[in-house]
Amino acid sequence: MEFGPHLVLAILEGAVGAAVLALTALGLSLVFGVMRVVNVAHGEFFMLGAVMAWFVAAAIGGHPAVGFIAALVIAPLVAGVIAMAADWLVLKRVNYDPEATIVATIGLLYIMQQSALMLYGPEARPVEAPFNSRIALPWVEWGEAGLQLYYPWGFGTTSYKLFVIVAAVVLLLAFWAFLSRTRFGLVMRATQLDRETALAFGIPVETVYALVFGLGAALAALAAVLIVPIQQAHYLMGGDPLLLSFIVVIIGGLGSIRGTIVAALLIGMSDGVISVFFSPTLAKILATLLVALVLVFRPQGLYGKTAT
């Protein structure tokens, strides 16, 4: 009883990472898909979500579940509103020019990061999970005395981690339903496919852009609220989610929602497993190598369409 249980544990950790990454990367993918904007500040909206979760929890007090639920609503809203303001004040002014928006969002990254440093400080602060009971996992193995059940075997997971996985799956399904079943989803998809024709058919493209940019940021913030009881909030925490989201979006295929989800599972899982057995750095190196390979052999990504 050595490798097997540890693998199960690593997969569980990986699944938590993959769940949060899928939500974060979805926001980046959505913004790129619809607006053709590479949002370098995406990780900062993730950070903003985590920091907001801390502020909300600290302000409300009482049972951790109350603060947590409030944060789940407030943090994405605040991130979304700030993103919409940034869209209106900056991105719209540079006409969504691909290069100018990269520079603009780099500027946004530093403004947000330094604002967080000033207002929140350099400390890493935990946010208490709404519930966090340990769940011991059973393990079954064929030993000398036949089939043996180990329970508990020392390691386990927590109910909160399982909750994060379930919550992310529910949110992803809800997002998919929103995109494919609602009028606004239809309008977003039409705008993504042909901006000019969308405009000719009465779609207020600029409003759609602002809402999409807000929605992308809100997804990152939501993911951060989910992870912050496990990870702590810090003003520099946006780097890793940004890097991993880019990796996921490139591997999945720019602008493809399905590709983003599949790649997030792949990268999140392998990141978790490799981090447990080897080191987090190796996990990042391998993921980046995978991006290079994808770019060489399948530049459009797993599910991307070749330019037509």
Binding site: T197, A198, L199, A200, F201, G202, I203, P204, V205
Partner: protein
């Protein structure tokens, strides 16, 4: 119905239209004729508000639509069939029509009437637009514009690359709409189609509007066609 008055427009710093004017009337088909690159598509885009005007104005029944943001022009009752169809290729037939209905603020009644005109589309509502045949795609592009219930319909080379039976269908549709009092602006390269369908023809050359003539004048004076179209 539609009055385009001395408009200047272009793409970024490049000016393509230099003081172009035209007029389309209710229950009439106005054909635009001109060489490749003369500015016919650019004219229609300018009417749809997709290009900023640097001079001139565009009126629809007296309303200055060139002062409206682009996304509010369709709701004024303007349907657009772009050159090359420009369908939302990843969306289904039903979704493409839905976009048209939303643009015009129309409901399921309009949807039924439009689908009655193109029964082939009704059989394919769940099919992705990009997988339709060329003729079906043109039907869908037309249906999407008709879902707006336009009083002004702009058609940019709707018969490009279609077989004769499909061309007839498009032509019949135009005739039906004209009889209902819709004003139609049709960009068409094929002279026989223009002669058969047009009430008036405006020639476009180098981003300017030249003569406007009737088909009978055109038949008697082939030199015009030679001068502006080169055939």
């Amino acid at each position: 119905m539609l009055e385009v008055q001395d408009i200047e427009a272009g793409y970024g710093p490049v000016r393509v239209l230099h003081g172009l004017s035209l007029e389309a009337r209710a229950g009439e088909v106005l054909c635009l004729l001109g060489r490749n690159g003369a500015g016919k598509t650019t004219t229609l885009k300018a009417i749809m508000g997709l290009l900023p005007l640097t001079a001139g104005r565009i009126l629809l029944d007296g309303t200055e639509i060139s002062a409206l943001p682009a996304h509010r022009i369709a709701r004024q009752g303007v349907g657009y069939v772009p050159q090359g169809r420009r369908l939302f290729s990843e969306l289904t037939v039903a979704e493409n029509i839905e976009i048209g209905l939303m643009a015009g603020g129309k409901d399921a009644g309009t949807r039924d009437r439009v689908l009655d005109m193109f029964p082939r589309l009704r059989e394919r509502l769940a099919q992705r637009a990009g997988t339709l045949s060329g003729g079906e795609q043109q039907m869908l592009a037309t249906a999407r514009a008709l879902a707006v219930e336009p009083r002004l319909l702009l058609l940019d080379e709707p018969t490009e690359g279609l077989q004769p039976s499909m061309i007839d269908l498009i032509r019949e549709t135009v005739v039906t709409l004209r009889a209902k009092g819709v004003a139609i602006v049709l960009v068409e390269q094929r002279i026989d189609a223009v002669l058969a369908l047009a009430d008036r023809v405006t020639f476009i050359e180098n981003g300017n509007s030249r003569e406007t003539v009737t088909p009978s004048e055109l038949k008697s004076d082939r030199a015009l066609i030679h001068k502006y179209v080169g055939v």
